[in-house]
Symmetry: C2
Subunit: 107 residues, 2 copies
DNA sequence: TTGATATGCAAGTAATTACTTGCATATAAT
DNA sequence: ATTATATGCAAGTAATTACTTGCATATCAA
């Protein structure tokens, strides 16, 4: 699976986006701390986090028996480069023209 | 379903992202033209496009029996505002510190 | 008006995804 | 040592998603 696929799939779920927000608000949380904010089992959260790790959006450090989670914003920058910046503005002129009834193929 | 949910779900599928790319390369294509680039049935493509429309990423205009598809980049800008800009850089300092063995909770 | 083209609608199947339950292991606290 | 805490692993279920097949409708061309 491509890097972009992993990324977009990771972002596709509201719970996973919430996890990113939680880490944004306070980086380095343990699994247990993250679980406290979501109403699902610890396992479910673990699986969401695994996906985020797979997309390289979250990095992990063990401290004793605790697993600390850190946000990695780099892949999001790549989304911007590939998917946002590229699509910036100019568009929709053609649509407007059509809607105004020009309806043609010719200039 | 929230607007953001629709958006991220729409972007989660590679075929749908390909459709956006196709429209970026050449806006205003018909359904048939789009189908020619994907190896799945017309119905499948229709369903993908419906999702993109639902996320407001694609707008449609009928010309006779043809359905023309246009890219709308505005929602992508919103993704940027909410999900990229916000997460810009500073991060990961805490992680680096930990990895270097400071391992502490205190400043 | 007949036939071909462009598309829609609806129900079904197959694959994937989100989430759970149950048990196991390792670190920490007493 | 014993118990409690923090987490992992694995298999199962339920829901969702991607895609198909079959038939219907509307526009265009001859």
């Amino acid at each position: 699976m491509s890097e972009a696929d992993l990324l977009f799939k990771a972002l596709a779920d509201p719970s996973r986006r919430k996890l990113l927000d939680l880490l944004y608000a306070h980086d380095g949380r343990t699994l247990g701390q993250l679980c406290a904010h979501l109403s699902m089992t610890r396992q479910a959260v673990t699986q969401h986090l695994a996906l985020l790790e797979g997309a390289n959006l979250v990095a992990v450090v063990w401290r004793g028996r605790e697993k600390l989670h850190f946000l990695n914003p780099v892949p999001l920058q790549q989304v911007y480069e590939r998917w946002i910046r590229k699509f910036e503005r100019p568009r929709l002129a053609a649509l407007d023209a059509l809607k105004k009834g020009l309806e043609g193929d010719e200039p």
